[in-house]
């Protein structure tokens, strides 16, 4: 019995309970991940992070939430009031929707009924997730635009440009998965990974997805839209109180959502890691949920690790990286994967498949060598230019160690 058939048999009550569980799971995970992120990033910076509210500071996020809710709710005079209120609602609702198609556990029994912890199973589940992510951008655009203020507008434009650009790379990186799984349904993709994870088989796709999911969620080092030093807070500068809390919630739920999608598509979803397959039947199948959870948290840890390690990118560098590197590389990789897949499906002899693969590898190596040579030539040409400036040069600021004072003509005057 496939997951889709299993879910189709759900009664109304089961669906309501599952929806509630998914929602509670997301909100709790957000609270805990805010705490976890602050603790981890603190440790990375040799400080303890929040450790005052509750044991180990565990309820810090809750305290912050209460504080946010009790704050004054401001709407700027220049704001478009309806849209201003609507924007955080769009952001906060869409971020939960993608969880509907994420398979969290395998076959389990819920109040005596056999089902799987997945709200619904669409034949085009992954496309649905991408579509929902695109709708989420409206929250950002509208928030920036309706604030009636400069910084939010700039931040909103940056955020939306960023999310849209990286969605292209993200979508392209998923194509290879679709080709191999032969389906866009999340549960089918998980089932197709029972032997080999796509994160291993389709490693370039996985790498591109991992990079673009950071860009997609506006997180460090791609958090230039919320660059505190440059744009105040980005699109949510004018928001306060619960409306700001909704954006905050949306950001973290989005992180969990892209991590969950990455887990589903590349790390075998709720399946146990290779060699630990026997654990999947523990706790009546609920143990698969723990594996899923562990994988999502691993992704979340990487998010925090990136934030603790990398400096923020410049906007143009970021856009260049997305459009000029990630997207072309994705397209080339799709070509290679499609060719290989077709070859093997059409029953081509193994030697042809291996020959094609090694040809591609050689091509990439040759291109790399050519690129390195061009770079060296360019550097060499710059060196010649720098040695003799043919134009007026402004006086260099005082730096005594760099000045050759000729002792004869100078020096006596300023003792």
């Amino acid at each position: 019995m496939t997951t889709a058939e299993l879910i189709a048999a759900d009664s109304g009550a089961t669906i309501v309970i599952k929806a509630l569980l998914v929602f509670v799971f997301c909100v709790l995970l957000t609270l805990m991940s805010v705490w976890g992120e602050r603790r981890l990033v603190g440790r990375m910076q040799e400080r303890p992070g929040p450790n005052r509210v509750g044991p180990f500071g565990l309820i810090q996020a809750l305290a912050d939430g209460v504080k946010l809710a009790l704050k004054e709710d401001l709407i700027p005079a220049a704001a478009d009031k309806v849209v201003f209120v609507l924007a955080p609602i769009i952001s906060a609702t869409t971020c939960f929707l993608s969880f509907a198609v994420i398979p969290i556990t395998g076959e389990v029994s819920l109040f005596g009924k056999t089902t799987a912890m997945q709200l619904t199973d669409l034949p085009v589940g992954v496309l649905y997730v991408l579509a929902i992510a695109s709708v989420g951008v409206y929250g950002i655009v509208l928030a920036g635009w309706s604030s009636g203020s400069t910084y939010p507008l700039l931040g909103g434009l940056r955020s939306s440009a960023q999310v849209i650009s990286y969605e292209v790379a993200m979508g392209l990186s998923l194509v290879a998965v679709f080709i191999y799984a032969g389906s866009m349904s999340t549960s089918d993709i998980v089932a197709a990974q029972s032997t080999w994870w796509y994160g291993v088989v389709l490693f370039p796709s996985f790498a591109i997805y991992a990079i673009s999911m950071v860009g997609e969620t506006n997180r460090a080092p791609f958090d230039l839209a919320e660059a505190e030093g440059e744009l105040v807070g980005g699109f949510h500068t004018e928001y306060s109180s619960l409306k700001f809390a909704l954006f905050f919630l949306a950001e973290y739920v989005n992180i969990i959502a892209v991590s969950a999608l990455a887990t589903t598509l590349f790390l075998g979803g709720y399946h146990a890691p290779p060699g630990l397959g026997f654990t999947e039947s523990w706790l009546g199948g609920w143990f698969t949920g723990i594996w899923f959870f562990a994988k999502v948290l691993t992704f979340f840890f990487v998010f925090v690790w990136l934030r603790g390690t990398l400096p923020r990118l410049r906007y143009d560098q970021f856009m260049q990286f997305g459009w000029k590197i990630l997207i072309p590389v994705s397209i080339l990789w799709i070509l290679v994967v499609a060719t290989l897949r077709t070859l093997s499906l059409e029953g081509a002899p193994r030697i042809v498949v291996v020959g094609f693969a090694s040809f591609v590898v050689l091509l990439v190596m040759a291109a790399n060598i050519g690129f390195e040579n061009a770079k060296k030539k360019k550097l060499a040409s710059i060196e010649v230019e720098a040695s003799e400036p043919s134009f007026a040069v402004p006086t260099v600021p005082m730096n005594v160690s760099n000045i050759n004072v000729s002792q004869g003509s100078k020096g006596g005057d300023h003792v």
């Binding site: 440790r43 040799e46 690790w305 390690t309 005082m398 000045i403 020096g411 300023h414 003792v415």
Partner: protein, 203 residues
Amino acid sequence: MSEQLEPLKKSEISVNDIAYTQMETGESVGLLGHLKGFWVPFSKIFKKTLTVEYPEVKAPTAERFHGRHQLNRHPDGLEKCIGCELCAWACPADAIYVEGANNTPENQMSPGERYGKVYQINYLRCVFCGLCIEACPTRALTMTNEYELADESREKLIFEKEDLLAPLRQGMLMPPHPMYPDMDDSNYYKGDVKQSHPSQDVK
């Protein structure tokens, strides 16, 4: 070397005097080099933090840390402040207000003619530069290492004389009281007075 002690002015440097050096572009760090960068924050997770649990644990300040001021006393308890206002004049932030008054035989607060009747330091203005300490001719004003100077109203942060005066130590008597017998103010400054004399205890 002596002629180079003072930096050259911009107008005295001609472009030709500046030695241009080629910036080092540096070798590519490679994939391992980048991973090394990721290793640093990761390894820090398992190391001891550098912070102090502040309200519970108070790390000592540097020995000469500029904290709250203190108005010192002579060993017999008389105040060192003579109300000269030099501290107030030295203060760049205009944080000190002093009013001097004459010592009388019934009301002898400090050795010599004058004492500080009103002494206020406004800690909303003070920048803790220590110029007042340098200005003080009698070493009456010094700084402590105390740094917890937050309060909830502006009034509370204007410290009066009684907030700033040093506590009475062993052998000191609370002024006003007469000066040490057979000693004048010069003796006080030379440190001849080591403690109070029984005759000074007028109460």
